[in-house]
């Protein structure tokens, strides 16, 4: 557990909206290849925390270290560079509706990484193939199914070679029959060693992928630990998962 392994570290993230405290001091340390999963009831602050991790939402307080170097999130330049290395997948996919799948992936490559058209195109094809969409590159988001849209979103994020991938309920907006294709892609990512922080209700992911589970409620991390230690009868996490089980019908 050498400190050189630490990819991302944040300390004491707080955030209030209109006087309502949503995050009341959350810390997180991520080492290379780790997968940490946030679980907990809605409104507990999971999504807000994820969006604070890449500063889509500016935290009221908190400190950031990327690969052990502090990041000044108030400097626009540093912020943009930081964001290139921390990718995000959204519950609602958030594809660029006016661009084809291909262009969705190449846009940031050309505008942010300043790649030329040909290189961007080649990279885009690689990423889209890896999520199984090599034959759908010319389609527009409106012509894709939910699962396909999320896979494009993943390809788009990965094309930027992020060091960390944040996933905010990646399968929650999908019909049950489409979640499988996205879960497969996520599993592949994990296998390849992608460092991830994910908020999800998907039991299978929680149990099989997590290196550490963080149970968040009312803006703080109430419990945390590996699945082995946390998913035993009596813990809040287990209680929560039981509830999810009964709702989804999946068995643990």
């Amino acid at each position: 557990m050498t400190r050189q392994d630490t990819i991302l570290r944040v300390e004491n993230i707080t955030k209030s909206f209109n006087g309502n405290p949503i995050l009341r001091g959350v810390d997180l340390t991520l080492r290379k290849g780790e997968i940490k999963i946030l679980v907990g009831p809605s409104g507990g602050g999971k999504s807000t925390f994820l969006q604070c991790l890449n500063c889509l939402i500016s935290p009221d307080s908190g400190q950031f270290w990327l690969e052990e170097r502090p990041v000044d999130i108030f400097s626009k330049k540093e912020l943009y560079r930081y964001r290139q290395q921390v990718g995000m997948i959204f519950q609602d996919f958030n594809l660029f509706d006016h661009l084809t799948a291909m262009d969705n992936v190449t846009l940031a490559l050309r505008k942010v990484k300043k790649m030329d058209k040909k290189a961007a195109l080649a990279r885009a094809i690689v990423e889209l193939s890896q999520v199984g969409l090599e034959d759908k590159t010319r389609l527009y988001p409106a012509e894709l199914s939910g699962g396909q849209k999320q896979r494009v979103a993943i390809a788009r994020a990965l094309a930027m070679d992020p060091k960390v991938l944040l996933l905010d309920e990646p399968t929650s907006a999908l019909d049950p029959d489409l979640t499988g294709e996205v879960i497969d892609v996520i599993r592949n990512l994990a296998k390849k060693g992608m460092t991830m922080v994910m908020a999800t209700h998907q039991i299978s992911l929680i149990r099989t992928l997590a290196d550490e589970i963080l149970f968040m409620e009312a803006g703080v991390v109430v419990e945390k630990g590996s699945p082995k230690t946390l998913l035993v009868p009596g813990t809040r996490s287990q209680g929560f998962c039981d509830k999810l089980n009964s709702l989804s019908g999946e068995g643990i």
Binding site: Y80, Q84, G87, F96, D97, A108, V112, Y140, P141, M160
Partner: protein, 225 residues
Amino acid sequence: MPEIIAIIKDALPYLLSGGLITAGIVTGAMALGLILGLSMAVGRVYGSTAVKRVIGIYVWFFQGVPILVLLFLFYFGVFNYMGLNLSAVSAVTVVLGMTTAAYQANIFRGAILSLPQGQFKAASTLGMSDIQTILAIILPQALRLSIPAWSNEFSIVLKDSALAFVLGAPEIMARAKFVASRTYQHLPIYIVAGLIYFILTWAGVRALARLEKTVRIPGYSNKGI
């Protein structure tokens, strides 16, 4: 009756070339309105409070004062004060342009706001700056959404251009009046003038509808606006 037809036939080229001037005024005004209106819309959605306030005042002013008043105010007042010696046609184009900019600002603002916020977030997470996002993601979609309302605004501006005659701009309305004063055939001449306006409006609206179809994104339905 045959004498009326002769008068109309005589006057037609004169009136039609007035149509060219009208077309010029409208094109200039809509272009100015587009550039100014789009900038103001972006400023109103993404700008600081101070920026929003200034733009708000501009929009409130130009929407609140009748165009006729604005024409006199600017042509005989403001422009002179500023030492600008604009011809009647230029003055009308500028004033109409500034007015339509106020309305267009609202059109574009509505279109921008109707877009799902998430796309902006996604662009940000990829490391794109706000300006890059606005230019590459927001505006291409907002502009497409705005075409119907913009077409509407175009037909309004075309009709408003008839007011140009009070400044002596030799467009359709002014010319119709000149012919009518000489021939005392007001009704037939004004009918012809009306027809010319109608044809110009119709042609413009059709062209914009064609544009909308051309830039339409497959499968993309009009959300909101």
